[in-house]
Structure formats: C-alpha cells, structure tokens
C-alpha cells in the first residue's frame, strides 16, 4: 500500500506542476454565485444563499443570476463577463455555479483563468460545469469542487431527504477543509475489489467525450476516474466508454468510480441487451484496478461534494467501499 501511495504522489506532481489547493474558507469569506451555462432566477437561488449564509459565509450574486437568453443565463458575453469578474475578484474565495444545463463551452476559451494563480479560489459545480473543472485541472492544475449547485438546494430544509441534506453538507465540509473527506458506497456485487490512490478526476461522461481533442481534455493516467450521466441511451453509454478506452483514458487509471447513470429506455426493437454494469465490465476487463458502481455522485439526490484533482484513496471491498481524501492535502 505504501508503494502505491508513493507512486501516485510522484505521478500527480509530474503532471503540470504541483497541485495548487485554494485556501479553505473561513467564516466571513465570500462565495460568488454565477451562471456560466443555464439560466436561473434570483428566487431559485435563495435556498442556497440562505443556507450558505447560515454557515457563516457571505454570498455575492453575479449579474447573470436572473438573466435569460433562451436556455442560457445571459448572452455569451454576459456570462463571460460575470465569470471573469469573479475570477478577478481577490475578495472571493469560491465561485459557485448556480446550475448546469449547457453553455460553459461557449465561454471557456475566452475566460482568462490566470487570476486563479494569484487568487486561488474554489470553482464549484458539476454536469455541464465539468467543462470548467476539466479545463482548470488540465491547464492550471488547481483543485476545484464537483458538487451539487444552487438548483439542487431544497426549498424546505426540514422536508429534504437525509441524503440530500448530507450531500449539501458535504459541500460545506469540502469548503471548510477542517475534516478529511470520507465517502462510503453500498457494495455492489459487480464491483471489482482492490485499493487505489490517485487524484480524483472525471465528471459528466458525455461532457468528457465532447472535450476530447480540445485543450480542456484531461489526462487520467495514474488517477482515479469518476463518471456519471443522465438521460443517455445504453448504446450511447457503451459508445462513450469505448471512447474513453480509445482515447487512452481507461488503461492507466488507478481506479474507476461509476456514479449514477439514469438510463434512457431503449426504443422498442432496439434492445441493447447489456446493462451499464456489463458495458463497464467489458471495457475494464484488461485492467486490474478496482472498480465500483452506484457511487453516490451524479444527477441524483445523493451527490456528495468531491475535491476535484485532489489525491484520494479508494478501497473497494466486498463488505464496504470507501473513498477517502489523502490526508497530506488537508490544511489545518
């Protein structure tokens, strides 16, 4: 185990310089809220604003919140300007994307991320925001947070399901940095047992595929990859896992985490005849690393905050599945 650990540390430092971890948030720190992709109303972000402020943080609502240009939270120029302002603002310690949808790829090439090197801050989101998390990981090697966004905060905290509450509280934990992140998953008989260490990278599978060949594409060698998706046909999920393999993203992993996959039912007469488990098992058969299914990450209520790019340890056992942040990254 020690040998594995040492190797993964070397690999992650080889990548693009040492991983930069933004300062964790202290009470009174400010989190910006912006819409790089889909639109959201001011009212819809209130549950998130109120809860985050109850944690002792301040929020700064960007002017894309409440804007709407068809499916987008404002025009490309407006979304670009809002996000850029937040990157440039030294007072902000985190940027929470209000929701996913579609549109980050319209602005990612115009954004100037270099202020992040001067004023590192946490960029937070998932789904379409996978574009930004991948881009930041690939080009700046700064940690970010894969997490639920404003649109997933419950209107009524007292009526929210326990897993939804726990998922949102995990964002607070990730931002605060005073505890090691620990996750467990229900063991799935399809899992492949083993232990792995590596940087945690990945995100929405379809989005990962559409970043291939671009400068936002991530290198997965020596890392733990997590993937999730929603609303895709099985044949499309199969094609995307083949894509991962054919772009060399499966061969040199240390571990694979398969999150939620909400599958679109096959059309009559077009039965694919394989499950997500079958699809993944076929693709990872040549490799020896651990694989776990139904991990609580994805487009479902149970979707814990992951520190993206940060080294973690994955242990897939027959009785339990544990993912734990590697302790050397936690500051006191």
């Amino acid at each position: 185990m020690l040998g594995l650990s040492a190797m993964s540390v070397v690999r992650w430092r080889e990548d693009r310089g040492p991983l930069l971890i933004p300062p964790y948030l202290k009470p009174g720190d400010t989190i910006g809220i912006t819409c790089p992709a889909g639109d959201i109303t001011e009212k819809e972000i209130q549950p998130a604003v109120q809860l985050i402020e109850s944690w002792g943080f301040r929020t700064l609502t960007g002017n894309t919140v409440g804007k709407k240009d068809f499916i987008y939270g404002g025009t490309d120029a407006e979304r670009l300007a809002d996000f850029q302002q937040m990157l440039d603002n030294p007072e902000l310690k985190a940027i929470l994307c209000a929701r996913g949808g579609y549109g980050s790829v319209h602005i990612v090439d115009q954004l100037n991320f270099s202020p992040l090197l001067k004023y590192p801050k946490w960029v937070i989101g998932f789904s379409d925001i996978t574009v930004l998390l991948c881009h930041i990981h690939a080009n700046l090697h700064i940690a970010s947070i894969h997490s639920k966004m404003c649109n997933s905060f419950p209107d009524d905290w007292t009526k929210a399901e326990p897993v939804q509450i726990a998922s949102i509280l995990s964002l607070r934990q990730a931002l605060s940095g005073n505890e090691t992140m620990k996750y467990t998953a229900v063991p799935n008989p399809q899992n492949r047992p083993g232990a792995a260490e590596g940087q945690l990278v990945g995100g929405n599978l379809k989005t990962l595929e559409t970043l291939s060949g671009t400068r936002s594409d991530i290198d997965t060698a020596g890392k733990i990859l997590f993937v999730e998706d929603t609303g895709e046909y099985l044949y499309s999920i199969d094609r995307m896992f083949w894509h991962l393999q054919r772009t060399g993203k499966l061969e040199h992993l240390t571990g694979l985490i398969v999150g939620g996959f909400k599958v679109k039912p096959d059309d009559p007469g077009e039965e694919f005849g394989r499950t997500v488990y079958d699809i993944v098992a076929e693709r990872v058969r040549p490799y020896g690393y651990p694989v776990c299914f139904d991990f609580p990450v994805g487009h479902q209520k149970e979707n814990y905050a992951f520190k993206y790019g940060v080294p973690h340890r994955l242990v897939v056992g027959t009785d339990q599945v544990n993912l734990t942040e590697s302790t050397q990254t936690v500051t006191s």
Partner: protein, 307 residues
C-alpha cells in the same frame, strides 16, 4: 489512393457491421444491384439475428467484415445499415490485405467511423452513400441511389442544390471528408480521427438535441477541425429535438455562428443526410465546389481525377 471503380460482373458484398437489419429489407437492394450486372455476396450479418440490437456478436460482425475485406473477389462492401456498433470492432480489424488491395467501402451514419479510420490511417478513398434501405419504396430509381451507382462506376458526378441565405460564396477544389456529426465528435482524440486541413468537410445528423449539435460542432472547432478547411457542406439536420425551454437557434444558425470568423465557402442544405436527399460522396477524392449567390454545385470528375 482510389480503389478500382466497379465493372459489371464484379462482386459486391453486403454486410451489417453495426445494427440489425432483416434480410427482406435489403431484398430490393440485392435485386437492383443484380439488375445492374453485379454479383452479390450476402454476409452472415445481413439478417443476422443476435437477439438484441446488433446484427451479430462483436466476433461475428468482425469476422464478416474481415472476410469481405480479405476476399480478393469482393470489389466493394456495401453496409446494409448503420445504427451503432463499429466502434466496438474497429481496433480489431486487420487492414493488411485491404491496404494492398483497396476496395470500396460504402455506407454512412455509423459507417462514418470506418470512412474516417481508413482515411486517417491508410489514405484510401471510401464512399459515403445510401445503404440498402435507400433502395426500398422506389428509391432504387431515385437520384441518390443512381448517384451511388455512378460513383462506384467512376462516372462524372455533378450535384447542385438551392442557394441558402447563410451560404458563403467561393470556388475551391479539394478532397471531401466528413459524415455524421455525432461520430465525428465521438472519434475526436482517437486514432480514427481524420485530419480536415485543406479539405471540404461535409456533416449531417439526425435526432439530436439542438444543444448537443451546438456542443458537438464546437468540439470540432475546439479540436482544430474547422479552422483550416477548404470549404464546408452542411447537410440535413433532421428530427432535431429541443429542450423544454427552446434552444433559440436552428442547427444551421448554430453552425453559421461558430464558423463566423473563417472565410472559406460554405453551403447549407447540401443533399447529404438521414432524411431527404443523400447523394454519394467519395471521401478523400478531389471535388470542385462552386458556391455562387444563385447556384451551388459540387463536381467530381469521373475516374477520380481532378479536371
């Protein structure tokens, strides 16, 4: 490299390297090709019932395709249909015999992967064209199937289409390349992605969400496949789906906006795609594209030589 064009008496194999197709759906195609004077070899995957989506297991589909690639008597391989499945076997195909003895590979949609892979790795021309079902319901006498016949026999081909207000005028001679947008996006970053520099790119798709067309087309741009084109032919984007909240742009407007900064000629509404017209295009073979305000033409000289 251009495979030998076909002459009556030659053998054409029909296989299904991806999705299932019932044999009777291909009967008109078989009869028509025989009337044209060709011999037909029916692969085991045409009508091959795997009990699921595919026309056979990966091994069966691979073996059928491999056999037709390796058989010196087979001068062309017509894919019965697309669907999904070439990705699963592409890296296991042995192209050694094919490289030394090129033959025409015919199809579109999922077959885009085979065209691109062959172009990227071996520089051999292929035929992006209607498949077996296009012969049904009178299609055999229609202009698209006739263009397939003329293309595989190496005749002069001349296509035209209506002007479109988004078109950008110009004249250029270059090889054509392209196919289904979802497949072109899917192969980005893989060994099957064919370079597009200096070429006329054609694209089409069916049944995709508009936001996804936007995302895939931007992937082409971000992976460097749009900035050094000689020209662009935008085919049909049909049965497009929209999100609950409207996307606010048609496929054509999406494409027009992404390529705004480039100055090569562009034609919208070119007769290639899943619905409406779908003419035969020889990938890798030089074509002459002329886009004027009042007319659009694409010319492929017979025998595959530039004029």
């Amino acid at each position: 490299m251009i495979p030998p064009y076909l002459r009556p008496g030659d053998t054409i194999a029909i296989i299904c390297p991806a999705g299932y197709m019932a044999l009777e759906r291909a009967q008109t195609c078989i009869d028509t090709l025989r009337q044209w004077g060709y011999q037909i070899r029916i692969g085991q995957t045409l009508g091959g019932d795997s009990g699921n989506y595919f026309s056979g297991s990966d091994e069966e589909r691979l073996a059928d395709l491999q056999q037709m690639l390796d058989d010196p008597d087979v001068k062309a391989i017509l894919c019965g249909r697309g669907g999904y499945g070439l990705t699963r076997i592409i890296d296991r195909i042995d192209f050694e015999h094919f490289r030394a003895n090129p033959k025409w590979i015919i199809g579109y949609s999922d077959i885009t992967l085979l065209h691109a892979h062959i172009e990227a790795n071996f520089g051999i021309a292929t035929l992006h064209a209607p498949m077996a079902a296009a012969f049904n319901d009178g299609g055999a006498e229609g202009p698209d199937v006739q263009s397939l016949r003329m293309a595989m026999e190496g005749k002069d081909l001349w296509y035209s289409c209506d002007p479109h207000s988004f078109n950008r005028t110009g004249q250029v001679s270059a090889a054509v390349t392209g196919g289904n947008l979802a497949l072109l996006a899917h192969i980005a970053g893989t060994a099957s992605a064919a370079p597009t520099d200096g070429k006329i790119l054609f694209i089409e798709d069916v049944g995709e969400y508009l936001y996804n067309i936007d995302r895939m087309f931007r992937q082409l741009e971000r992976s460097g496949r749009l900035d050094r084109l000689a020209g662009l032919l935008v085919g049909s984007f049909t049965d497009g789906k929209d999100t609950v909240r409207p996307f606010g742009a048609t496929a054509e407007a999406i494409i027009r906006d992404v390529i705004r900064d480039y100055d090569y000629p562009v034609c919208f509404g070119f007769p290639v795609g899943h619905s409406g017209r779908n003419v035969a295009l020889q990938t890798g073979v030089p074509h002459r594209l002329s886009i004027a305000d009042e007319s659009v033409s694409l010319y492929c000289p017979g025998g595959g030589t530039t004029s």
